[in-house]
């Protein structure tokens, strides 16, 4: 028996049985296949492209390619004045516009020294927590779709619809609000807004339980997510993960608690982290679980805000809004807890211009996604889909 290697075709074994019977066995030459997942793919959640090197269904390497939705946010910022940037922040994380606006307002207000009316703070927190629930609903619903469960997605969207109507009632827009201004808000909420919000809170609570039964506790769902894409806490911190992603790894870190802003110090809410009983800490299921539990905390925050909110007598929502936003010279890094993690704005002002010298958005998805290469190594394609889904990216924010 002799072995030959014919032009990289894999090894060929030639066995000579007798003079005229020769058996040639050939090992099939296998090679890795490059699989371009995206930018048009149902579960890359937008226009993300993953170039996967696959060996059968196992991924040896997945390299993300970004930029398909790059809209030059930072270049725009240097050419419009501060209030003009607010609508652009909406378009970054379009699923949580209120939260993005709030982060930007907080950053600029640090440089401005303006007095924010208390009622404004309460309204800001209510709308951004509502938006957080809406955003988590999309995250959870689309995660269901990623794993093949279609029905929870529509249930989630049905309830998100109520939130969008509430926000539309307050701001006039359903997704791109331009509601939280620098120093105030665009206008007061409508007269019955609080009542309607409470109605929604009472309506929504039982749904969270229903969703748990339908999706989170489903045996197949647990099988598909438990132990998949595990990220240890220290590596997660080193990767700069934040928000539900970091909490999924067991780090109790929430900017609303650890770097408090607005009225969050006055409010009573928990920061849910997985306890490792239902899920393995740091896996896809943990991240999903954190989001599911956070919705309940947001409901609690909204209830407390509505209880404590000062009345609207003599309230001018634009009292703190400067005529011309011209911050003092200096730099600031302001941040807020977004549904997807820490959204920060680094702003450089020269003190003379009404336009920032430099405005950089620290996007949470961008940072969370950067761990993709490590997370995807050696996973199956269905698991890759589960991992991308659990990162909950919004490409508008990744590419800015």
């Amino acid at each position: 028996m002799q072995e030959l290697d014919i032009a990289g075709q894999g090894s060929v074994r030639v066995t000579r049985k007798s003079d005229n019977v020769v058996i040639i066995e050939k090992d099939l030459a296998t090679e890795q296949m490059v699989l371009a997942m995206g930018p048009q793919h149902p579960s890359t959640h937008g226009v993300l492209k993953l170039e996967c090197l696959t060996d059968g269904e196992v991924i040896t390497e997945a390299v993300p390619y970004l930029g398909y939705l790059h809209r030059c946010f930072e270049k725009h910022c240097e050419n419009v004045d501060y209030p003009g940037i607010v609508p652009y922040t909406d378009r970054m994380d379009y699923l949580a516009g209120m939260n993005s606006e709030m982060a930007f307002a907080i950053a600029v207000e640090k440089l401005l020294d303006v007095e924010i009316p208390r009622r404004v703070e309460f309204i800001r927190v209510i709308v951004s927590e509502l938006n957080r629930i809406a955003s988590h609903l999309v995250a959870i619903g689309t995660y269901g779709i990623d794993l093949g469960a279609f029905t929870p997605f529509l249930f989630c969207f049905r309830d998100r619809e109520h939130i969008l109507s509430l926000l539309e009632w307050a701001s006039g827009a359903r997704m791109l609000y331009n509601y939280i201004w620098i120093g105030g808000i665009a206008n007061d909420v409508p007269a019955d807004f609080n009542k309607r919000v409470m109605e929604f809170v009472h309506y929504f609570r039982p749904f969270a339980t229903e969703l748990f039964k339908l999706l989170t506790e489903n045996e197949i769902f647990v099988k598909r997510t438990k132990g998949i894409g595990i990220m240890p806490a220290d590596v997660a911190i080193n990767y700069g993960w934040s928000g539900p992603m970091l909490r999924g790894s067991g780090v109790k870190w929430d900017l609303r608690r650890n770097d408090p802003y607005s009225i969050y110090p006055e409010l009573d809410f928990d920061v849910p982290v997985p306890d490792g009983k239902f899920s393995d800490i740091g896996d896809c299921l943990s991240r999903h679980l954190v989001r599911a539990l956070e919705m309940e905390e947001s409901l609690r925050i909204i209830e407390q805000c509505i209880d404590k909110m000062p009345g609207s007598e003599g309230f001018n929502p634009r009292a703190g809004v400067p005529k011309r936003v011209r911050p003092k010279a200096g730099e600031v890094y302001g941040r807020a807890e977004n549904p997807r993690g820490e959204l920060g704005f680094y702003i450089q002002s020269d003190g003379k211009s009404t336009k920032p010298l430099r405005c950089k958005a620290r996007s949470s998805c961008f940072v969370n996604l950067s761990a993709m290469k490590d997370l995807s190594k050696g996973q199956l394609i269905p698991d890759l889909v589960a991992i991308i889904g659990s990162i909950d990216i919004v490409l508008g924010e990744v590419d800015r």
């Binding site: 579960s43 269904e57 794993l147 279609f150 029905t151 999706l215 769902f221 598909r224 199956l380």
Partner: protein, 358 residues
């Protein structure tokens, strides 16, 4: 009413002008027309309406009353679509794939007894034929997936082949349990053996205490064989775009779709024939109220088997809109380590039951 219907159908069977069994042909055409037109096109409509009902939506509402003509409009639309064959596709395989799929899924209809009076081909190995002919679908799927020259299609096809070939084993063994209870592979004979005045009590499912095991195994395996959720990994939308039919458009796409719904009905019909009495009425005779006698007969038989089939299609849809999808390795685990051993266990138990318990 049942009696008049029976009388009417008996009269039709006896309608033999010039020695030609015209009445029988008319009677035979009823289920086939029904299946081709209703089960397949309205299977799609039913799926959309049922999913809408489960998801708090309305579903199609615009075309006709309650959107009842939606599927016809869809077919009209698909007919007008450009028939694209990708430039780099293997044209022969690409074209022939959907054809094989379609033929494979409908050949089994030949041996399905739709009523006591009608069976397309009364083979004495009918059940064997039905199990075997379904495997042809695999060739079609592989041809479609390979011929598309698309990596996603290839993944879908390879997954599908692995899945169908694996799941045929527990499915076939589970059906063999039914065949053992009947002592024949003739589909019509299996049905006849399950008839009796006590209705559902004569069905094989209730004839032995073990029968529920092969029944469940076959139902689960049949879900995998027709690529339905939670085993729809060959066309896993969120992973593989659309699996082996990613590149198909227009009528070729429709043909693949029809084949899928065809095989859905086919496996549902097989499970109801082997375990649930096929065209036999499940209603028992209660003294003077001879429900079983009133509701049996050629037309009633077609009604029963089709409604039993639809019931299982409904369960398939119900599962699809409730459950997430399994992963490839979990799917194989379920087949080889759970279903196949249990199928063998039920096979042995059924044999023991048939030998030692009359």
């Amino acid at each position: 009413m049942g009696n008049t219907l029976n009388a009417w159908s008996n009269a039709l069977v006896g309608f033999n002008p010039m020695g030609l069994p015209l009445g029988l042909v008319i009677l035979a055409a009823i289920p086939l027309v029904f299946i081709a037109l209703y089960a397949l096109t309205y299977g799609v409509y039913g799926e959309r309406k049922i999913s809408a009902f489960m998801q708090d939506r309305l579903g199609p509402m615009e075309v006709g009353k309650w959107g009842i003509l939606q599927t016809l409009a869809d077919i009209l639309k698909l007919l007008q679509k450009e028939d694209i064959v990708p430039a780099s596709a293997d044209k022969f395989l690409f074209v022939v794939g959907p054809g094989i799929l379609f033929v494979g899924s409908f050949l089994a209809f030949a041996v399905l007894p739709f009523s006591p009076a009608f069976i397309g081909a009364s083979l004495n190995v009918g059940l064997f034929f039905a199990i075997g002919i379904v495997s042809i679908e695999v060739v079609g799927i592989l041809a479609a997936g390979w011929g598309s020259n698309n990596k996603w299609s290839l993944y879908g096809a390879v997954r599908s082949v692995a899945q169908i070939v694996s799941y045929e084993i527990p499915a076939a063994i589970a059906l063999l349990c039914g065949a053992m209870m009947a002592g024949t592979l003739d589909m019509q004979q299996i049905n006849i053996l399950q008839s009796g005045s006590w209705g559902f009590a004569h069905f094989f499912l209730f004839q032995s205490p073990i029968a529920w095991l092969p029944f469940l195994i076959y139902f689960i395996a049949s879900l995998a064989e027709v690529n339905r959720a939670p085993f729809d990994i060959p066309e896993a939308e969120s992973e593989l775009v659309a699996g082996y039919f990613t590149e198909y458009t227009g009528m070729k796409f429709a043909v693949i779709f029809l084949a899928e719904y065809g095989s859905m009905f086919m496996v549902s019909a097989i499970i109801s024939i082997v375990f649930l009495g096929g065209w036999n009425s499940p209603l028992p005779n209660l003294g003077a109220v001879a429900l079983n006698d009133w509701t049996n007969g050629p037309v009633w038989g077609a009604f029963w088997i089709i409604s039993k089939g639809f019931f299982f299609i409904f369960v398939q849809m119900w599962l699809r809109w409730t459950l997430p999808r399994l992963r490839v390795d979990q799917l194989m685990y379920l087949c080889w380590k759970v279903l196949t051993p249990f199928a063998f266990v039920s096979f042995v138990l059924t044999a023991v039951w048939e030998i030692y318990v009359p």
